[in-house]
């Protein structure tokens, strides 16, 4: 029986894929960005873009910053990956940000950037992003566009549904993608059903400093938790998580996790969880995880945290409910009013929309359809507000324009579909090139979206750009949504996989941007405040070079007395107090990277001389007319 169903599902999936290919081919000839499109994306020299867009670098572990509508790349912010351009993860100050209980991990799979919010609106303070592979969350300070904090998530097998924020950035969430034995133990994989569990973590964010702190975890049935959104307005106090593999299959998931007609969206009452924790409910579980942050001296610190409070969902009635949702839902999005929860059923031929008020009524009336591993399942008919019929193939994610419309990405049919909230009618559709994953409307997940554009984040580009061998760039496409018909304006290439993105008006960020670090506030223990303090100090086999840099010289620029086998730390302080004047520093044969030292900052790099001689060092960032003269030598004796 099972095998028979598998065959049907596999063949229909194949049919979908073939259909998708066919649809893709038929659209291949179309060209976008014509008519008045150039004028709509042209940002004249010397003028600014209207929006900052923050795009995940996917498997590059980075975040890239683009301007909209121009599609110009401004900066790549290293988060989970080392970046030789900025010495991030190479300098002694930033290395601690990449520490985990598995050791130093200079990579992750970064998926979902989330801008901090106040009262459900973007506030332009911080950007959070998840590390999917080795469960982590990072925080980027938007005054400096630098990663300032990372926290590891214990009891998790993969941090996918993350770091979706509650409406006042009270919490960032982290939900397990891969369920695993929790706590970890050596068991047969085939014992998945008995032994595997998932967790949903709530990490408290300090409203003044942004500092993260793991508040509590909720132990949930062992299925895959995928994406999340927090409720807002009437649904404030709840978060919603899409899930799949309710079959709890542990092999051939492609087929075996696609058996059930419906999987779930988990509705979590986080306000109740907060109360339970305040009452001392739940258990303190052993756990070990790293919390890394840049301290007041702008030096990375790693703290190993222990223990976490865990609430077992099935022991606390009212904490978690399951909403049945067709066919392996992926996206899980809440409309601006906070009433509707939209799911994207990857393999479904419709988009189900749940109603929060119906959900409340169903809970009150106990309209349950049994339970799943101790969690009540609500009746589909009792919670569903409507279904968007025949939207296309492979609905994934939905964002909103604030004018009463939802926009859903369709992976298989490579298009964006616009539909009306309430009537659930499809009103427009536009092809994307090709295989769109997430889509993004500036503020499209907030209470009041800014609208104006939808950005398609595409997985493949095939014939859209000059070819670069077997691997082609991934891309974003900018589409105008101000009229009745969506209009393609621009294609632009992206860094790594443009998994998800968020955007906000530039005015929220640009005027708060830091221009330099005031030298008098530099508390790095190896900082020097004036050139006269530059010196070399030996401590056993360790040499500390306290070096200053300013246009256009280093002090000291002749260093002697270093021996083969020494550990030489160059502590370089940039004495400039001028915007956009960093200096670089690099030594010949360094096995590390350069340093990029921002004005007023101190950065340290370790160099271990291997052979005797006189080795040059120099500034790597062209800083002024005499940049080429900015050099020196270090003498190494045997």
């Amino acid at each position: 029986m099972n095998a028979y169903r598998s065959i049907i599902i596999t063949s229909s999936a194949l049919l979908l894929l073939m259909l998708a290919t066919f649809v893709g081919c038929s659209k291949k000839q179309e060209v976008g960005g014509v008519g008045d499109a150039p004028a709509k994306v042209y940002v004249a020299p010397g003028t600014y873009d209207e929006f900052y867009a923050f795009m995940s670098g996917g498997f590059s572990g980075q975040v890239s910053v683009y301007g909209l509508p121009s599609g110009r790349l401004f900066r790549v912010i290293p988060v989970f990956g080392q970046d030789p351009e900025k010495a991030y993860g190479y300098s002694e100050e930033t290395k601690p940000l990449l520490n985990t209980t598995h050791g130093f991990i200079p990579w992750d799979d970064a998926h979902h950037p989330q801008l901090s919010v106040t009262d459900g609106q973007t506030d332009g303070r911080w950007l959070f992003i998840n590390g999917n592979n080795t469960p982590r969350i990072a925080r980027i300070d938007l005054t400096t566009f630098e990663t300032v904090e990372t926290i590891e998530i214990p009891n998790s097998g993969g941090n996918h549904g993350s770091p979706y924020l509650t409406p006042n950035t009270e919490y960032v969430v982290a939900s397990t993608r891969f369920s695993v034995p929790i706590p970890q133990k050596d068991v047969p994989i085939s014992s998945y059903k008995e032994n595997f569990k998932g967790t949903i973590s709530y990490i408290k964010v300090d409203s003044a400093t942004g500092r993260m702190n793991l508040a509590f975890q909720i132990l949930v049935p062992g299925i895959n938790y995928d994406l999340s959104r927090a409720g807002k307005g009437p649904s404030y106090g709840w978060s919603f998580f899409s899930s799949y593999n309710s079959e709890q299959a542990n092999t051939q998931l492609e087929v075996n996790a696609s058996q059930n007609d419906k999987d779930f969206i988990a509705a979590v009452n986080w306000k109740l969880a907060e109360e339970l924790v305040a009452q001392g409910k739940g258990e303190q579980w052993p756990a070990s995880y790293y919390h890394n942050y840049m301290d007041a001296a702008d030096v990375g610190k790693s703290e190993v945290m222990s223990g976490v409070r865990v609430l077992n969902a099935k022991e606390h009635p009212g904490l978690v409910y399951y909403l049945p949702t067709p066919k392996s839902p992926h996206g899980c999005d809440v409309d601006p009013s906070g009433e509707y929860i939209v799911a994207g059923g990857k393999l479904a031929a419709l988009i189900p929309v749940h109603s929060f008020s119906k959900l409340q009524r169903a809970i009150a009336n106990k309209d349950f359809d049994g339970e799943y591993d101790g969690i009540p399942i609500l009746k589909y008919e009792s919670v569903i507000a409507g279904e968007v019929k025949e939207p296309g193939l492979g609905p994934l994610h939905t964002e909103f324009d604030g004018l009463g419309y939802g926009y859903t990405s369709m992976f298989l049919s490579s298009e964006i579909v616009k539909w009306k909230i309430g009537t659930w009618e499809v009103v427009d559709r536009i092809p994307t090139y090709y295989s769109i994953g997430h889509l993004m409307i500036p503020g499209g997940d907030t209470k009041q979206p800014y609208g104006k554009y939808v950005v398609a984040l595409n997985k493949i580009t095939k014939d859209r750009y000059l070819p670069t061998g077997p691997e082609l760039t991934q891309s974003a496409q900018l589409i105008d949504i101000t009229g009745d018909k969506m209009k393609l304006l621009l294609d632009f290439p992206t860094i790594g996989e443009p998994h998800y993105a968020q955007a906000c008006p530039a005015t929220l960020i640009k005027d708060k941007s830091k221009r330099w670090y005031p030298i008098e506030e530099n508390h790095n223990p190896y900082a020097i405040k004036a050139e006269g303090d530059a010196r070399v100090e030996r401590d056993g086999k360790t040499v500390h070079v306290y070096m200053s840099t300013i246009r256009t010289h280093f002090a000291p620029d002749n260093i002697e007395g270093v021996k083969v086998g020494d550990k030489v730390y160059f502590h370089v302080t940039n004495l400039e107090q001028d915007w956009d004047v960093p200096h670089g520093f690099s030594v010949m044969g360094s096995t590390n990277s350069e340093l990029l030292i921002l004005p007023g900052q101190t950065r340290t790099i370790l160099w271990e001389p291997k052979q005797a001689g006189v080795i040059p060092f120099y500034c790597t960032d062209f800083c002024s007319a005499l940049h080429q003269e900015m050099q020196g030598w270090i003498r190494v004796s045997s």
Binding site: R515, W516, P518, I550, R551, E576, Q577, D578, W579, L626
Partner: protein, 185 residues
């Protein structure tokens, strides 16, 4: 009114160059010298080292210590003159004011001359034969890639305003004293 000169810069030297779209300049206050924006003094000193100019250290400029006392003297004297209401005293006060202002501008010129001419030619990186870098006392001047503009600041305008009021009172008093004289004739 003159006490306001404590709260605003007396004079401003603004430097314009393509690389400084955000503006760059010096403010001369009655008792201090500072950048128009945070970091400006540091930037100006850093630029000046290319041409061998001395580092501007506000704490080592004696005028900034003397000027507040001079200004206090002028203010106190002004109050006394106002209290007496005597025109001859006002004349005296106006003359003193002119003398102080002239001395200030001459001092400013000499200071600018010293900084602009007294260069460390041995360590100067950019040497243009015959070139000096004296900022103008008032007005604009092109110095290499910079245009230096020197103008009174708000405090300077207040001082000028104070003097003008004094002068108007003096003129008005003169007219008033003349009128009865013509009537008598």
């Amino acid at each position: 009114m003159l006490s306001f000169t404590y709260f605003f810069p007396l004079w401003e030297i603004t430097l314009e160059a393509p690389q400084y779209p955000e503006g760059l300049g010096l403010e001369i206050w009655i008792n201090q010298m500072q950048g128009q924006h945070p970091g400006d003094l540091n930037k100006i000193n850093n630029l000046n080292h290319y041409i061998g100019m001395k580092t501007i250290k506000p704490e080592s400029i004696p005028e900034l210590k003397i000027m507040p006392w001079v200004m206090r003297g002028v203010m106190l004297l002004g109050l006394l003159v106002a209290a007496t209401g005597r025109r001859s005293w006002l004349t005296f006060w106006l003359l003193i004011f002119i003398a102080v202002a002239a001395a200030g501008l001459v001092d400013f010129y000499l200071w600018g001359y010293d900084y602009g001419h007294n260069l460390d030619t041995e360590h100067a990186i950019i040497k243009v034969p015959g070139m000096s870098y004296q900022p103008p006392v008032i007005g604009a001047k092109k110095l290499l890639n910079f245009r230096a503009i020197s103008l009174p600041g708000i405090g300077g305008w207040i001082a000028i305003g104070s003097f003008t009021i004094g002068l108007l009172v003096w003129l008005w008093e003169m007219r008033r004293q003349r009128k009865p004289a013509t009537n008598a004739a």
